[in-house]
Symmetry: none
Subunit: 317 residues, 2 copies
């Protein structure tokens, strides 16, 4: 009995059904009897109205902008995960907001009943995240530190993130008993053959999710501040085109790892390939803009937690 006067009519009906459904809040059964059609047809009209974008849904809430930005970031940089938190213009903290969001995301992984391997970097941001983690009991999971926590002089670095984390969530943990930087590629090779280190390396390679901060470069970069890198070396790196650093791995403005140079002395566990694991970078703020952009561009990270202002920048460039 298909009447086929005009395609237009069908859209009109769809609009009408969509209106009754979304605006008037009727059920599809009611719509069917109002319009004198079967319930299934009513359902089809309603979903047609949606598919044809006859119905426009809008969310009026500050959070909407964040969600939208996250969706666009995901699309733009082909990310597995993106979370944008509202910016707090009045705060100059480098972590407020993203720390909570990062902790929430880590928690989500930890809630899995199946065992997962989490790898984490270090730095102020990660430390702030761990501080936000609630105590949990996760004997099924393993956490591994991607970077060494020993300075060249043998002392432990301040941000012993992995230990704090293990403490809080009660999971088996695998630190890297190494400096971030060693003195030569040869030394690195030797050290990486040590059995403890090898275990960590292998675990890192199998990590399901990786959480890392993104380090900017410059005279007051964290790597310098924490005494891992001399200021002259930093200057050299920057003239060589370095744009940022993740776990000590230096990359240029296109997000490509710098060949040679300092990267041959980085003792950190390599980041897992982005097609298998979630590699989530967490950072915000003007000082991180360029490093973040480069890391995203080069696909060094495939997940991002940042704030609205930073997201805007990353979408604009």
């Amino acid at each position: 009995m298909a009447r086929k006067p005009e395609n237009n009519n069908r859209l009109d009906d769809a609009a009408r059904a969509g209106w009754l459904y979304y605006v008037a809040g009727r059920t599809q059964d009611e719509i069917a009897s109002i319009m004198g059609i079967s319930r299934q047809s009513a359902q089809r009209l309603v979903s047609l109205a949606m598919a044809e974008r006859l119905i426009k849904v809008r969310l009026d809430h500050p959070i909407a902008a964040c969600l939208e930005a996250a969706a666009r970031l995901k699309d733009r940089y082909d990310l597995k995960y993106a979370d944008v938190v509202p910016s707090d213009p009045g705060s100059d903290s480098a972590t407020v907001g993203i720390a909570e969001a990062g902790a929430a995301e880590i928690e989500r992984w930890l809630k899995s009943p199946d065992p997962v391997v989490l790898a984490i970097g270090t730095g102020r941001t990660l430390k702030a995240i761990i501080d936000q983690l609630p105590p949990m009991d996760c004997p099924q999971h393993r956490i591994v530190s991607l970077t060494g926590n020993i300075r060249l002089d043998g002392s432990a670095a301040y941000y012993n993130v992995i230990f704090s984390m293990a403490d809080v969530i009660n999971a088996r943990h695998f630190p890297m008993p190494l400096p971030v930087l060693v003195s030569s590629p040869e030394e690195r090779e030797v050290l990486h053959k040590q059995s403890l280190v090898k275990i960590a390396l292998e675990l890192g390679a199998r990590a399901d999710a990786v959480f890392v901060g993104v380090g900017e470069l410059g005279a007051d970069a964290p790597l310098c501040e924490d005494g891992f890198l001399a200021r002259e070396e930093m200057a050299d790196l920057m003239t060589a085109g370095a744009a940022g650093e993740i776990c000590g791995w230096m990359f240029d403005h296109d997000g490509a790892l710098l060949a040679g140079s300092i990267n041959e002395r980085v003792a950190s566990i390599p980041l897992p390939p982005r097609d298998r694991a979630a590699v989530i970078g967490i950072a915000k703020g003007r000082r991180k803009y360029e490093a973040l952009r480069a890391a995203l561009k080069g696909g060094i990270i495939n997940g991002l937690i940042t704030d609205e202002t930073t997201a805007e920048y990353l979408l604009k460039v």
Copy 2:
């Protein structure tokens, strides 16, 4: 019952859930796992987002029947603007549908980069319309209330439409610090000489667009319900031939303002002449039929937003 600061968080969550549900099209199960809550909680958040009007749905499709009715109304009553929304026969809401349409039309005016002066009435319909307005930033426009918001006993009336509106669109606003009705023509004259009132009066006379509800008369008319008019006076007016009321101005079945009587005590700003400004009446439903017909016949309004059933009536008589 505790008014918790977390209440805000709950709305944020609701917004987030609503966005994921309506905009991103996720199921409530997915939302639950994304947000780390139970499915039921996700469902509650989604429906909260709806209940709190965080989510606004609009239909952008000229439904043929409605369009046609609108066109015929325009022709028949010589209107500048007409919009007919689909009827929902089962609903006895006096505003569903026309509220969204009214908000859309107001939004259209507000989007103008050139400054415009909008005048608005008051009442349940207008209130419902304002609730549908999205937040905007319109410092270039001015909005003025056509009617007073003070009762005879000095208290403010419930539907403080102008303030809600100004709040949402961030425009300069000019309330009428007067009752709808004063005790005598002389008092009105005195009050209208007050500087604040004069400013509002002048602005109202220059309004580019006017949005008003259309009040029916009768024992349960809004004017009586809200305590502006005693029931005996109402009865007198009806025997004197009154058919309806806009902003307090009484008119007869031909749409002519009633001479003398109560109109000499109405303190509202006169409606701008219909040849210059758009005077858009918004109403639907059987109870409004006669008042609408009269207002249209007499040209008190030159724009109309109503529903299909009402449009049919207005075209038939």
